[in-house]
C-alpha cells in the first residue's frame, strides 16, 4: 500500500490536470449541444456529402440531430484521444522514470521484490486511469442532466466502458515498453497513442485497410458501431486483450531481470 500511495501521490498533479481538461472539454461540448441541435439538420446533410472524411470519423453513420450521435463523435475525439494520451504518458513513464530521475537505486535497495514493484506500479497506473474515468463519467452525467437530455443509457455506458478499456490497453503496452527504457519516453508514448488513433482513421477510409482495426484499440471504440449495435466488438476487443497481456507480461519479464546501471 505504501508503494501505491506513493505512486498515486507522485502523479496527482498530472492526473488532476488531465482529468480537469478532459472533463471540462466534455462538459463544454454537452452544454452547447442544445444550441447546436437547432442547426444540426444542415450540419448532418453537410457531413453526409463529405464522403471519405465523414467515414474516417464515423460521422457518415451517426445522426448529428440526435444527442448520442453528437456525443459519439465528440466523446471519441475528447475522451478517446485525450484519455489515450494520458494513459500512454502514465504507462511509458511508470518504470522508466525511476532510472531517468535516478531514484531506481534508492527504490530497489529496499526489501521489496522487483515483481512487487512492477505489480504495484501497474496497479497505481490503473487506479489513476479509473479515477480519471470515474470523474469524467460523473461530469458527463451531470452535464447531460443539466441540458435535460435523456439518452439511451446502454450505448452511453458502453462508450465510456470502451474508452476505459482503450486506456488500459494503451497504458499496458506503454508499461511494457517502459521496462525497456532507461529514460522516460513521453515522446514514444504520445507518438504511439497518436499513431493508433490515425490507424483507425485509415481503417475507416477503405475496406483494404480494415485489418488495421485489429491493431488499434480505437477499433473497438468506434462510436457508430457501439451506438448502432449496443455492444462492443468482441473480435477487436479480444485482440486488444492479447496486446494488454503481452504489454504487462513484457514489463514484468524485462524489469525483473534488468540491470539498473545508475
Amino acid at each position: 500500500m505504501v508503494m501505491i500511495k506513493h505512486e498515486v501521490r507522485q502523479g496527482r498533479m498530472t492526473l488532476l490536470i488531465w482529468t480537469m481538461v478532459i472533463a471540462f472539454m466534455l462538459a463544454l461540448c454537452i452544454l452547447i449541444y442544445p444550441e447546436m441541435e437547432t442547426q444540426m439538420g444542415d450540419v448532418s446533410s453537410m457531413f453526409a456529402e463529405m464522403g471519405g472524411f465523414s467515414a474516417a470519423f464515423g460521422m457518415d453513420r451517426l445522426n448529428f440531430g440526435e444527442f448520442m450521435g453528437f456525443f459519439g463523435v465528440e466523446c471519441g475525439n475528447i475522451l478517446g484521444l485525450g484519455g489515450a494520451f494520458f494513459a500512454a504518458l502514465l504507462g511509458i513513464s511508470a518504470l522508466a522514470k525511476e532510472e531517468k530521475e535516478q531514484t531506481a537505486e534508492f527504490l530497489l535497495t529496499h526489501p521489496v521484490s522487483r515483481r512487487e514493484i512492477v505489480g504495484k506500479k501497474l496497479v497505481s497506473v490503473l487506479i489513476q486511469i479509473l479515477l480519471l474515468n470515474l470523474f469524467v463519467a460523473a461530469v458527463t452525467a451531470a452535464s447531460i442532466c443539466a441540458i435535460g437530455e435523456e439518452p439511451d443509457i446502454r450505448p452511453l455506458y458502453l462508450l465510456l466502458l470502451a474508452y476505459l478499456i482503450l486506456q488500459v490497453e494503451v497504458a499496458s503496452v506503454c508499461f511494457g515498453i517502459s521496462a525497456f527504457l532507461n529514460h522516460g519516453g513521453p515522446g514514444i508514448g504520445l507518438g504511439m497513442a497518436a499513431l493508433l488513433y490515425f490507424l483507425n482513421i485509415i481503417a475507416n477510409l477503405t475496406e483494404q485497410a480494415k485489418f488495421l482495426k485489429y491493431l488499434t484499440p480505437f477499433g473497438y471504440t468506434e462510436s457508430a458501431d457501439i451506438i448502432a449495435d449496443e455492444c462492443l466488438d468482441v473480435k477487436y476487443l479480444s485482440v486488444g486483450l492479447v496486446f494488454t497481456v503481452i504489454g504487462i507480461g513484457a514489463g514484468f519479464c524485462r524489469y525483473c531481470r534488468k540491470d539498473i546501471l545508475s
Binding site: Q102, F106, T109
Partner: protein, 289 residues
C-alpha cells in the same frame, strides 16, 4: 558467518569489464574499507551485491544469504548509501524518510529523529531545495534509521563538510560497537586508515590485496626524505618510486635493500634524513604506480 563473502564474482556489461573473479571476505562486526580509483569496480561490486545488477559469473553471500535467491531478506538487514544521493525531487525530506521506513514496514521515527538532530537536517525542506551535502544527510538517515546489521556506504563523505564527516563517522563507530558491520567504499585513504580495521584494494576489476589497515601500512616500502645541499638526482638506487623534489629536499618510496640505501646515503652531504612507514595514501599510490 561472514558479513560479505564473494566467490569468483564476475560482472561484465556486454564486453566491458566490471569486476573479474572477485574473492572478498568481510567478517561480521568489521569496519572495512574498500579502496580503488574511479572505474576500478567498487560501485559495480556493491551494485552486484545489492542485486541492482546480476552477476555474470560466480556467487556471493551477505550475512550467510545468497544474493541471487534471498535478495529481499538481505536488503531488510542492509542499509545502503549510494555515492550519488538522488530522491524524488518534489517530496519533502520527512516524506522521503517516512517512505523509506514504510518500504521496510518499520516505524523508525525515533531513530530518524535522533539522526536528523545529530546531522542538523531540516526535514521540512523539499528535496529539490537541498544542497549535495544535505541530500547526503537524507541518504545517511535512510541507510541507518532501521538499525541495519550491515551498512554498505559508497563514497559516503563526498559533499559533507569536515564537521559533518566527523559526526557521520562517529555515528558509524557507535553502530559498529553495537555489532553492525560497516563496509565503506572510498578513495579518501586517510579516512579509511583512520576508521577501518581492514581494507581491500581493487584495481581494474580485480582484487589486489585484502588485509588489516595496519598490515597494509607495514610493507617493505619506506618513505625516505633527504635534505641537504649534496643531494643530487639521480641517486644510484634501484626500486625507487614516487620521487619528489622540493629545493634541496628529495623524497621517494624505497622498497630495496636497507644496506644499499645506507651505503648511498653515507656518501651524501645531508642535513636531515627521515625513513618512515608510508601512509595508506602512499601504499595506494605504490599499488597503482
Amino acid at each position: 558467518m561472514d558479513a560479505i563473502k564473494t566467490a569468483s564474482l564476475t560482472k561484465y556489461y556486454g564486453k566491458s569489464r566490471g569486476i573479474i573473479d572477485l574473492n572478498l571476505t568481510v567478517a561480521q562486526g568489521d569496519f572495512f574499507g574498500f579502496i580503488g580509483p574511479n572505474g576500478a569496480g567498487k560501485s559495480t561490486t556493491i551494485r552486484t551485491l545489492l542485486g541492482l545488477t546480476a552477476p555474470s559469473d560466480g556467487s556471493a553471500q551477505i550475512l550467510g544469504m545468497d544474493i541471487s535467491r534471498q535478495k529481499e531478506e538481505i536488503l531488510s538487514h542492509v542499509g545502503y548509501m549510494p555515492s550519488e544521493a538522488s530522491f524524488y525531487r518534489n517530496m519533502r525530506v520527512r516524506d522521503v524518510i517516512t517512505f523509506s521506513a514504510g518500504l521496510r514496514h518499520k516505524d523508525c521515527r525515533a531513530e530518524a529523529g535522533r539522526l536528523c538532530e545529530r546531522l542538523e537536517l531540516d526535514v521540512n525542506k523539499k528535496i529539490r531545495e537541498l544542497s549535495l551535502g544535505n541530500r547526503k544527510k537524507v541518504s545517511i538517515i535512510c541507510a541507518l534509521q532501521h538499525m541495519p546489521r550491515l551498512c554498505i556506504l559508497d563514497e559516503p563523505t563526498s559533499g559533507l563538510d569536515p564537521l559533518m564527516q566527523r559526526e557521520f563517522y562517529s555515528i558509524l563507530e557507535e553502530r559498529n560497537k553495537e555489532g553492525a558491520t560497516i563496509f565503506v567504499s572510498s578513495h579518501i585513504l586517510s579516512e579509511v586508515q583512520r576508521y577501518c580495521r581492514h581494507a581491500a584494494v581493487i584495481r581494474e576489476g580485480r582484487l589486489l590485496v585484502s588485509d588489516s589497515t595496519q598490515s597494509l601500512g607495514h610493507t617493505d616500502t619506506k618513505r625516505v626524505r633527504l635534505r641537504g645541499a649534496g643531494v643530487k638526482l639521480p641517486l644510484e638506487l634501484p626500486a625507487m618510486k614516487d620521487v619528489q623534489t622540493d629545493g634541496d629536499s628529495v623524497s621517494f618510496l624505497y622498497s630495496g635493500s636497507p644496506k644499499e640505501l645506507l651505503n648511498v646515503l653515507a656518501g651524501l652531504n645531508l642535513t636531515d634524513v627521515s625513513i618512515t612507514e608510508p601512509d595508506l595514501e602512499e601504499i595506494f599510490m605504490h599499488y597503482y604506480g
